[in-house]
Amino acid sequence: MSESQKTLSRRGFLKGTGAAAGALGLAGLAGVGTAGSLLSPVDAHAESEERTAHLCHQFHCLTGCNLKCTIRDERISIIEPSDIVKDKKHSTICLRGIGEVSHIYSQDRLQVPMKRVGERGEGKFEQISWDEAIKTIADNLKETQQKYGEGSVFIRKSTEAGIDFDFITQLLHADAGGQWGLDRGQANGLGPAFGPWSYLSNRSHWEFKDAATIIELSHNPLESAMVWSRPLMDAKEAGVYIVAIDPRFTGTAAKANEWLPVRPGTDAALIQGMLKAVVDNGWYDEEFIMAHTSCPYLVDRATGKSFRSSETMAPNPAVVSAEPVGAPFVWDTVTNAPALYDDPAVVAALEGEWTVDGKQLVTEFTLIKEWLDGITLEWAAETSGIDKQAIVNLADRYANNGPAIIDIGLGGADKYTNADVLGHSTAMLVALTGQYGKKGAGYASYCGLGASNPSATLNYWTLPEEYGYGESPVAMYDMPYKENSIHAALTFGDAFTLEAGAAQDMLNWVKTLDFFAIVDLYHSSAVDYADIVLPACTKFECEENVKQLRDSMGHVMLANGMVKPLFESKSDLQIERLLAAQWGLEDLLPKTYEELARFMLDGVADADPRMEGITYDALLANGGVMALPETGDDYMPDGTADFFLTPSTRIELYYEYLADQGHALPVYEDANEAFETNPKKAQYPLYFTQGKSRYRIHAYYSAAEWFQEDFGPSINIAPEDAEVRGISTGDDVRVFNDRGSFVATALINRSLQPGVLFMAETTYTRYYKEGFLQNVTNSARLERGYSMFFGPQIPYNDVLVEVEKA
């Protein structure tokens, strides 16, 4: 048992502390040649010099806390919530912010530029100079482009590194890898109904307390992003009924009034059961349906195509091509003929079927009802594993009990091939019940993005127009499987093992590249496959006093008071400038973060008066933080149901573009691999799922030694699954399927439903005894996904495995 879980009782305390002492003995070794040796031993604080600095922390948890750092002897010694944000509810921090004290100075920071001396994947490197490293990268990229054309170079910056700028990719007209395939499975399915960006809420999460019911659908904010889950706990204390739909008894489920443990990948069956109950019992909101949805629109039954005007066109922002479509027709009960949907004189029919010019025309709502006639609650219950009555009760509560919110996770259910069916089904449930666009109602991911905070207007540094991204005919995650012209790669961060499943396929493909260089902060999984490795510095470090300018939590935040880059690391901007200089293009980039920040703010108040007074100098005079004028408790955006980014600007539930593929309505289909009747279950009987942990943002923070004391690559297994395999907590176990295997530590945990495994998202391979979790994950693609807004998603959780003692 770790120190952090030392129980209340005193049993074994002497033994426990003795074991800890044993571990301490080993720690001395770790300082040699690593972070420790750069830093003097613990010394007295008394004569030390202290200063404070403020910066905006991670974007990637969608939080962006402003952090106050106490820097003593040029080391970041304390990190605490900012005391200079205007809106004190944004004076926040979580363990990840605090843990930076450990993470910044981690032993596993990349310290110097290196070149590979062993085989790819072997992890043997030797130190080289920055000059040699930069020249080697440039020479190889130039040679590749000369030989195979500009599109033969792939360059991608990680989410965090890509904020504010991405110059080198555009300067080289490189392939940026196309769709990311991450966390937009439900968004693919709900986008055509509510608009492409509607997966982010149009109302504030501070409104949670005004709901009667909140359904956390595949969303676990209490562990993924603690800071913005505070409104959920406010709602709980206010007596709001909270339901968690999740295969796992998550932190959020533990706080919910009701936990519905769906089988992995079957959430859509549960939602369709709710739809069935809503429609069969007449629990839908006809007034809302007629005013705000496409339910009365006509469809040609024979072709499955919408019956549209050939004269009046409507823009179509909901499809990737954005090609306009004919405006839809409804059936006018006054004239008894088709009429344009938005003609104010028309009284449209909600249901019915008519023949016009030999065409059988039917309303969408009639088709929806016919489709639901083919679904039974018994099927929904059997497929999802949730009791029939529980499904009906939830539908009743959701539809008939006051305002309700469905808060979806970005991740979780997105990681199955059938996630679009879930998004489409839920969109339909929301639309039919009218739980949208009013106080305490809504449907989206209520995260730090979206409408929760006012946003700033900032300039974006652009390059001369001859520079820009090259074509990306094949998404990065498809490169091992689809013919492509990539011969060399440069990634800022570990794109190859984080942004793709089935790591063996990806890494085998990476091995075939003529050249691969990586810029990273830590010794991540992909580093071992790189020819050249460049050490980047953290966001707390910079060559100059200031760093990133960010728009976060209703404030403009300029990072300032930086410490110098540790070891030989450099900032992303200076690395990009060094690279650009190899092509003679460095003058197109800002010289410094100061120049970039000044540019981003220059003249913005002319375009947006709200930015008045928020200048570079004013920011510095205010510690780097200034609030937007609306920021504060009164900021509560009034998101309505009156306009959607769809052709008719209403919620459009019939997906004509998928009619040929049989998915104009959200017809249920099993996930690719994770379903009960899959014959593969005979060989690989366990569902393998991964998700967020409070100790990480994806793989980030894996290298923090403080967290490593408590948390490593461990696989959670239900007691009954462990017992039949003779597995105990602490055992090394091998997790495997046809795609590969890895070894991790078993944790027997009652929070798992039997038959389901859980592991926190990937961490660096160096922390595993063997392999890593991406070795077993799935690379299947949903074919219809290629016609969707965010492309096919990587089905990380659509995975079956077996486990045995290693």
Binding site: L14, T17, A44, R750
Partner: protein, 205 residues
């Protein structure tokens, strides 16, 4: 008189461990030592569950020194190293601590740690509050109610950093303090009341 105490809202506690790391940072707590930890009650793994599937529950118990009014640790300390200070906090004079660990055996809350070896710090410098004294091999240590911060009129680091606002700190002798009001109105309770230690840390739901 001032009697510092704390009340922790277990409904709002989401077990995020932020307070545990805030404490580690503030007090320069060494590798494999914790003054403050968040237990998953009744579980043998962090974030486990109790009950039979699917009827499960999980509650978290943030646990550190309870700053008892009648501290069992103080009574057994042979040198007077453990003492009750003028602000009602239980503190340790590291100079007087002889490492006998009687206090650890006496504490019903298992709140203390002992430095069997010279403490190791990762990262290898003196992170944390500059006023927090170093501890050496052979002394016991524990939560001080952030003595250095509370002496400066600040709230303890765990209270400041809790993302859920689950912790309330203040003067138990002042009936108008927020902490006193919360204890009175929310029916707060103490851990192991039967031990007669009278903790100044309260819990409520």
């Amino acid at each position: 008189m001032t009697k510092y105490g704390m009340a922790i809202n277990k409904t709002r506690c989401i077990g995020c461990q932020t307070c545990a790391y805030a404490c580690k940072m503030q007090n320069s707590v060494a590798k494999n030592v914790r003054w403050n930890r968040v237990l998953s009650e009744g579980c043998d793994v962090v974030d486990g569950a109790v009950g039979q599937y699917p009827n499960l529950s999980r509650t978290y118990l943030p646990l550190a020194c309870q700053h008892c009014e009648n501290p069992a640790c103080m009574k057994v300390c042979p040198t007077g190293a453990t003492y009750k200070d003028e602000m009602g906090r239980v503190e340790i004079d590291y100079e007087k601590c002889i490492g006998c660990r009687m206090c650890m055996a006496a504490c019903p809350y298992n709140a203390r740690s002992f430095n069997w070896e010279e403490p190791v710090h990762e990262p290898g410098f003196a992170y944390g509050d500059k006023d927090v004294p170093e501890r050496t091999k052979g002394v016991a240590e524990k939560c001080t109610m952030c003595k250095e911060r509370t002496d400066r009129g600040e709230e303890p680091r765990c209270v400041q950093c809790c993302p859920m606002g689950a912790r309330v700190f203040g003067d138990l002798d002042d009936p108008n303090s927020e902490v006193s009001k919360v204890i009175a109105t929310r029916h707060a309770s103490q851990l192991l009341e039967e031990q007669g230690t009278h903790p100044q840390v309260y819990y409520f739901e």
